[in-house]
């Protein structure tokens, strides 16, 4: 085996062991704290009012050490062709939220228009199960228009009994966005909103992510097989942090979390560690 593949395999195995021992925790492999920030080595568990990517580098870059639950977060594809990537990432992120949600909030609301369903498909149970999301926990709303999607999302936020809401709209007005943001903040229910690549930015979102697909790494055992899904994840807007930070992450099917893509974790994003080692 090539060395890289061996390390990959070992990492996955360790992740699996850790998450089996304590499902609430996730082990962060990227050992570099973001520049200028001191993070104690044992801060595994996220704060109760956030949910995380499970990726140390991203979670600790965010001012809240994760994504705040009481807020609206916007996910945009990098190009129109990346829309499936954006919705896949959003679903995976919601799967993480659902896994760590308290026992009395175990339902996820998903809403989309028929047009978007025809375009990007509708959630498929067996595939969701592979993301670590129990399909029985999902309520699907198939709407005719954007306005119905927004109404359903807002109702879901106001219900206060959901783990989160996830929806996609083709166009979003300022007022509608503000309503969603207020409802999410008031009821402490997270809202992920998928908006088109070209649409205007929404100032009320707590964070805005731009998602693009990235070629996956060659498979550990056979180069011709697809391995983990990879995304280019750019933080376009975030209160209290400068925008434009970008990561290449991959989704781990085994531990149901994001992690920095291996090549990046080893080299590009570890200048300090490398320097320390060298010196």
């Amino acid at each position: 085996l090539p060395r890289q593949a061996l390390i990959d395999t070992l990492r996955t195995r360790i992740e699996a062991i850790v998450s089996r021992a304590d499902p609430g925790r996730s082990l962060a492999f990227a050992p570099t704290p973001p520049a200028g920030e001191r993070v104690s080595a044992c801060s595994f568990s996220p704060a109760p009012d956030v949910w995380t990517f499970g990726c140390f580098a991203i979670d600790h870059f965010l001012p809240w050490q994760g994504l705040p639950l009481a807020g609206l977060h916007e996910v945009k594809p990098a190009t129109p062709a990346d829309a499936p990537a954006a919705q896949g990432l959003a679903m995976a992120l919601m799967a993480r939220r659902l896994r760590n949600a308290p026992g009395n909030m175990q339902t996820l609301l998903w809403a989309a228009t028929w047009r978007d369903i025809g375009e990007g498909g509708r959630p498929y149970g067996p595939g969701l199960a592979a993301l670590g999301l129990d399909p029985a926990r999902l309520i699907l709303v198939e709407a005719r228009r954007d306005s119905e999607v927004l109404w359903a999302l807002e109702e879901g936020l106001r219900a206060g009994a959901l783990a989160g809401v996830l929806g996609g709209v083709a166009k979003l007005g300022l007022t509608a966005g503000r309503r969603l943001a207020l409802a999410a903040a008031a009821h402490g229910t997270p809202c992920l909103l998928l908006t088109p690549a070209a649409g205007p930015a929404m100032p009320v979102a707590m964070s805005r992510w731009r998602v693009g697909a990235r070629p996956g790494a060659p498979h550990a055992l056979e180069a011709g097989l697809p391995a983990c899904l990879r995304f280019q994840l750019t933080l376009e807007r975030c209160r209290g942090r400068e925008a434009g930070r970008s990561w290449i992450v991959e989704w781990s099917d085994a531990s149901f979390r994001f992690r920095l893509a291996a090549a990046v974790a080893d080299r590009a994003s570890l200048p300090r560690l490398a320097r320390r080692r060298a010196g």
Binding site: N104, T107, I117, D134, L162, R214, P215, H219, L229
Partner: protein, 631 residues
């Protein structure tokens, strides 16, 4: 004691027409509705002016024209009559719990139609030709005693149509100040709509029917049979009032049994001997027993009778939505109170608005789990009420719970206040479903099938209240687990059924590629597989290049194939002639090879080739489809 009202509308088709198009129908000129019957135009209904000229239903149009040259005619519309009568019957549900359309074998009175006159040869048929009698008994038909040469009678749809409404008013009359008050209110309102009304009120539907049709007096007191006095009041009425077919009536007339009193005077045993057929006897005795309440008469109500009803009448019709909303508040409180008393919760609600012009608006609402929260009812119904046209005003509102379930009172604990035990999700589903429609708020439910689109079922979230145990036993981790050579687990974990992935904590495996080897499933599935153009290096191999939605993508990685054979135990769909249906139908009939492919940009698709080269090329060459999206 149960009480029934029968409302006969003798002039229904004509009066309905007058009501539907007031300008089109002359008020004073003779008018008749005609229908083609036995190849000639026949009158089915006439207005008052025409009747005054001596015409009657059943007359041929040519004869009628000869007598009254100025007769105007319009085609009869039995279907529209029936629809309108049903609508009126629904509106009449304000008077009682069960309503049904009343159907008479022929128009009453029987002599009004020429075709229904008795045969010319009574002696012959009374004794009966033995051969014919036997034949009739064998074939189960009533021996009519009619002459042999008579043409087979064609029953007119218009003449045979329902022309009355039966209502059970048990326990309702006091709301109208007694039975007389109820009947007076009913007649007053219907007369206000321009209808001729002949009501009857008695202990049984049969007796009420007879009174409505056969009592000549217009006084309401004569049309109400006091409880227990059915026999006295029914005795002078003609036998035809018992809802007998014309043939049976003819027979009874020949036997000299003209009134119901005559019939009850004859011992039952001897009746059977007088009739030449057991069926006739059975028909007569059944009708007689039904009229006197000795035999039950099951009827199907137009609207299912609800166990829990709250109603509110208004002296002045409500025309503003504020007023209706306020009334809704009162109704929901009352219904919730009734439900709480009975320890029940509603699964369905129906709000009925009776408008003063005789129409009815029904707003049904479903609930995902039994509830008796007035505030919740109000929110659900208020959404729908906003879009209702109140017309000329609403003078009665009822809120019913057509379906309810036992719901014990629950002690609310402090923990419940913060948890979902309060049913936040269920309330949300109710709200979403009542606004968007129950078929658009869905849950995913697994199904034991290898065919990907069949393996998942979308069920209305309203029906499937909460994720409970699986209804179909899962087909286990199907082919996936087996391909790993692992023992097939029989864990009852719900997520197991979704292709072996575990939902909580446990990672499925320690090797990341296992998901691919066991046949990955995409998180998003297209509603219909979309045809794609594919270039493959070898016919049986994975695609090298894929054209989907007019974009060409070069494939750099592929996993597969995962072969999914058609379910041979399911009936095969025959190819339909038209394109789309054809591919969809044939799809179940051919083997699919699924591949997970990734293009050079890292976008991952789930594609399949339908059909095997060399084996399944019979109808068309194998074709490629894109079925799902990973990212």
């Amino acid at each position: 004691m149960r009480r029934f009202v029968s409302v006969w509308l003798p002039q229904w088709p004509i009066e309905r027409l007058c009501r539907a198009s007031p300008g089109a129908v002359p008020a004073e000129a003779p008018l008749a509705l005609v229908e083609s019957l036995d190849g000639r135009l026949t009158l089915t209904a006439l207005n008052r002016a025409a009747r005054r000229e001596g015409l009657g239903p059943g007359l041929a149009l040519a004869d009628a024209r000869a007598a009254v040259p100025a007769l105007a005619t319009l085609p009869a519309e039995p279907a529209a009559d029936l629809v309108a009568l049903r609508r009126l019957a629904l509106w009449m549900s304000r008077y009682g719990v069960r309503i049904a359309l009343e159907h008479f074998p022929t128009r009453w009175p029987p002599g009004s139609s020429k075709k229904m006159r008795p045969g010319k040869n009574p002696e012959r048929s009374a004794s009966g030709d033995p051969r014919r009698r036997q034949a009739g008994a064998r074939s189960g038909e009533v021996d009519t005693g009619a002459p042999k040469d008579r043409a087979p009678r064609q029953i007119s749809a218009a003449i045979d149509a329902p022309d009355g409404i039966g209502i059970e008013i048990t326990g309702v009359a006091h709301l109208f100040g007694g039975e007389k008050g109820l009947l007076a209110d009913l007649v007053h309102r219907l007369a206000g709509f321009g209808l001729t009304v002949r009501p009857g009120l008695a202990d049984t539907p049969g007796a009420a029917f007879a009174v409505a049709r056969a009592v000549q007096s217009r006084r309401l007191a004569d049309r109400i049979v006091p409880p227990g006095e059915t026999a006295v009041h029914l005795a002078p009425l003609p036998v035809a009032a018992l809802r007998l077919t014309p043939e049976t009536q003819t027979l009874l007339h020949r036997l000299g049994l003209k009134t119901i009193g005559n019939l009850t005077g004859v011992p039952r045993a001897s009746l059977e001997r007088r009739f030449n057929s057991r069926d006739v006897t059975a028909a007569v005795l059944t009708r007689l027993d039904q009229a006197f309440g000795l035999a039950g008469e099951p009827t199907k109500s137009l609207v299912p009778p609800a166990r829990y009803i709250a109603r509110l009448t208004f002296a002045e019709p409500l025309v503003s939505s504020e007023g209706v909303m306020a009334a809704l508040g009162t109704l929901t409180e009352r219904l919730a109170g009734d439900l709480a008393e009975a320890q029940a919760g509603a699964r369905r609600l129906a709000l009925a608005l009776y408008r003063s012009d005789g129409s009815l608006v029904r707003l049904p609402v479903g609930l995902s789990r039994p509830s008796r929260e007035a505030a919740h009812f109000r929110r659900l119904l208020a959404d729908k009420l906003l879009s209702v046209d109140l017309g000329f005003g609403v003078d009665l509102m009822t809120l019913t719970a057509p379906e309810s379930e036992p719901l014990a009172a629950a002690q609310v604990t402090l923990a419940d206040l913060t948890s979902d035990a309060g049913g936040g999700t269920a309330l949300l589903i109710d709200r979403l479903a009542s606004r968007l429609g129950a078929d658009r708020v869905l849950r995913l439910s697994p199904r034991a099938s290898h065919v990907p689109e069949v393996a998942e079922r979308l069920v209305p979230a309203l029906a499937e209240a909460a994720p409970g145990p699986l209804d179909p036993p899962p087909l286990e981790s199907s082919f996936c687990a087996r391909s790993d050579g692992e023992p097939v687990s029989t864990s009852p974990d719900r997520a197991e059924s979704w292709l072996g992935a575990r939902s909580h904590g446990e990672p499925v495996s320690t090797s990341p590629d296992r998901a691919l080897r066991r046949g990955a499933r995409p998180p998003f599935l297209l509603p219909h597989p979309e045809p794609v153009a594919v270039v493959a290096e070898i016919p049986d191999g994975p695609p090298a290049c894929l054209e989907w939605r007019r974009r060409r993508r070069r494939i750099v990685r592929a996993a597969g194939p995962e072969r999914i054979a058609p379910e041979w135990w399911q009936p095969l769909f025959r190819p339909a002639p038209d394109g789309a249906a054809e591919t969809a139908a044939r799809r179940l009939g051919r083997t699919r090879d699924y591949y997970t492919v990734e293009d050079e940009d890292g976008r991952r698709y789930w594609v399949f080739r339908e059909g095997l080269y060399g084996r399944e090329e019979g109808e068309a060459p194998p074709a490629w489809y894109l079925h799902g999206l990973f990212a």
